[in-house]
Amino acid sequence: MFAVSQPIYRIENLVHRYNNEPVLAVDRLDIEPASITGLVGPNGSGKSTLLKLMAFILRPTDGQIRFNGVPAVPFDESVRFQVTLLTQDPYLMKRTVYKNIAYGLKVRGDRDNLTQSVHEALAMVGLDPDAFAQRQWDELSGGEAQRVALAARLVLKPRVLLLDEPTASVDAASSELISAASMRARSEWGTTLVIASHDRQWLYDVCDEVIHLFKGMPVGTGRSNMIFGPWIRQDNGLHVKALGNGKCLTVSAPPNEGATAFIDPAAIRILGKGEGATTAHTAYLDGTVSRLSLERPGGDLFADVRAGSLTLVVRVSESHLAAMTLHRGWPVTLAYRPDSIRWR
C-alpha cells in the first residue's frame, strides 16, 4: 500500500559541513507519510543536524531534500507551515504560555478560536489550561516547559513533527506525557514523526523503522550492537575490549585501535546449558539476561544480555525459544564469530 504512495521526504546525496568539516552525509533516505522513524546514534553522530535540515532550518551544503516530491529550502512557502521541530532543551519565548503556544497560529494568520486551540493543545500534553495559560515562561519546571514547547507544535496540527531527544532532559512523568501526545498526533492527524533519542527501547517499541547514525552516516536500520574501542592487542594476535569483572570481548583485527565494532544481533547465539563445546573461529562471552522485548514490525524476540559494562542485543530465533527458558537474570553464554564483526 505504501509502495505506490510518494515519500514525504526524499533525501538525495546530502552533505552538510560546519566550517568545512563534513558532519553529515546521507546518500539516500526516504520517509513515508504518517510513519514513525527513529534516529539513534551517539552524541555527535549527526542526529540533530539531520533534524534541522529536515525542518528546513539549515540549508544543506550539498544535495537536496524533496518534500512531497518538491525540492525545498528554508523559508519556502511549501514547507513553512508543514514541518515543525521540537529541540532537546525546552526553549520558550519570553512571553506567557498562552502567547508561546498561540505564536505559530498567529504566524499562520489563523486567529479563529485561538483560545480554544491553545487550551486543547495544553490539555493534550497534560497541563491544566486554566492553571498554565497565563503563566510566564520562567514560571515553569523543565518538564512543564518542554510540554508547553510540544503543545506549541501540536497546536499547529503539523504534517511532520520532528522531535530531537524530546524526553532527554525531563522527568519520567513528563516523558510519558510527551511520548503519548506525540503518538496521538499521528493517530489523530496522520502526522509523520521523526524522533531522535537515546532511549532505544522506546524507539524500538513505537517506530516503524529505526535508523542508526554513526559519524554523520546512516549505518543500518533495526537493532544493532555498536561497540566502541579502544581495542587491546594480545599476545595471541587477537584483540579484546575489557568489560570489567575479568570479562572481555574478543574481536578480529580492528582497522585501528579506536575503531567501532558492529555486531548483528542475529549473528549472536545464546548457548543452552552444557552447549559449551569450543570451536575454532568462535568466541564466547558469559552474561546475564537483563531484558526481553518484542520488535513491533517483525515480531522477533530480542534479549538484552549484560556482560560486565556492555549490553548486547541478541535475536532469539524461534527454534531456540522452544528449546530453552529465558528469564531476566538468567545466566547465559553467548557465542559469536569474530570475523562476522563489521568495522567503522
Binding site: A55, I57, F75, R80, M93, V107, Q136, L156
Partner: protein
C-alpha cells in the same frame, strides 16, 4: 558638611514651592533628553540589531568603533557640535546654537553609541535556540526579525536606560552648545554647575537631588513595562 542637609531641605522647597527657575530647568532637561532619546533609540536600536544579528565583512571594525565611541567625553562632543552649529560653522544657518535642539543633537551623539553597543550585545546574547524555534513555528524572515527583537526587549530597555542616565547627567554638551541661558537652555546640570560656581553649594545639592528624583520617576515608570 551642613550644606548637604541644607540642600535636602532646599530641594523640597524648590520642587514643591513652585520655584519657576527650577521647573524651567527641569523642563529643559526633560525636553532635550526626550528629544535625544527618541532620536538615539530610533537610530540606535536598528543599528544595534544589525550589528548584533548579521555577519558582514567589517563587523569587527565597526564594533570596535562603536565601543570606542562609548568613551567620547561630553565636552569633546559639545565642542564638535559647537564647531558645526556655530554661526561660522557649516550648519550655522540653521540657528541651532543656544537652543534645546542643539543640546539634543549633541546628546544624541552621546547616547547613540550606548544604545547601539548595548542593544548589539543584547542581540548577540540572544539564545541560539530562538532562531530554530521561530522558524520551526513557521515564521518568515520578517517575522523572525521582529520576534527576535521583541525577545531582547529587556536588553534594549536596559540599553535605553543606561543611555538616558548618561544624557540626563551630562553637563559638557549642555554647557557648550546650550550656553546655560536662563529660562531657555539652563538644564539641571548646568544650573548645578552655575550654583556651584556661585558658591551656592546647598542649591547645587538641591538641584542634584531634583535630578535624582526625576531619574527615579523615570525608572519607576519604566519598571512597569518590565514583568515582575
Amino acid at each position: 558638611m551642613d550644606f548637604i542637609f541644607a540642600g535636602f531641605i532646599e530641594a523640597i522647597h524648590l520642587l514643591f514651592g513652585g520655584d519657576g527657575q527650577t521647573w524651567s530647568a527641569v523642563a529643559a532637561t526633560l525636553k532635550s533628553s526626550s528629544g535625544s532619546m527618541a532620536a538615539s533609540l530610533t537610530l540606535g536600536i536598528p543599528l544595534g540589531f544589525v550589528l548584533g544579528y548579521f555577519d558582514f565583512p567589517a563587523k569587527r571594525q565597526v564594533r570596535l568603533l562603536v565601543d570606542t565611541a562609548l568613551a567620547l567625553p561630553t565636552v569633546f562632543i559639545g565642542l564638535v557640535v559647537y564647531a558645526f552649529i556655530s554661526n561660522r560653522g557649516p550648519l550655522g544657518e540653521m540657528g541651532l546654537l543656544f537652543t534645546l535642539t542643539g543640546i539634543a543633537i549633541g546628546q544624541t551623539i552621546l547616547a547613540l553609541p550606548v544604545v547601539v553597543a548595548l542593544s548589539a550585545t543584547a542581540v548577540e546574547s540572544m539564545d541560539r535556540h530562538l532562531r530554530t524555534l521561530l522558524i520551526s513555528l513557521g515564521a518568515n524572515r520578517r517575522q523572525l526579525l521582529l520576534s527576535s527583537l521583541w525577545e531582547v526587549r529587556y536588553g534594549v530597555l536596559a540599553a535605553g536606560l543606561t543611555a538616558y542616565g548618561r544624557v540626563m547627567t551630562e553637563v559638557g554638551i549642555s554647557m557648550m552648545v546650550g550656553g546655560n541661558i536662563k529660562w531657555h537652555t539652563r538644564t539641571i546640570t548646568t544650573a548645578i554647575a552655575l550654583e556651584t560656581g556661585k558658591g551656592m553649594f546647598a542649591t547645587g545639592i538641591a538641584l542634584g537631588l531634583v535630578l535624582i528624583a526625576i531619574a527615579f520617576g523615570v525608572n519607576v515608570c519604566l519598571s512597569f513595562l518590565r514583568k515582575k
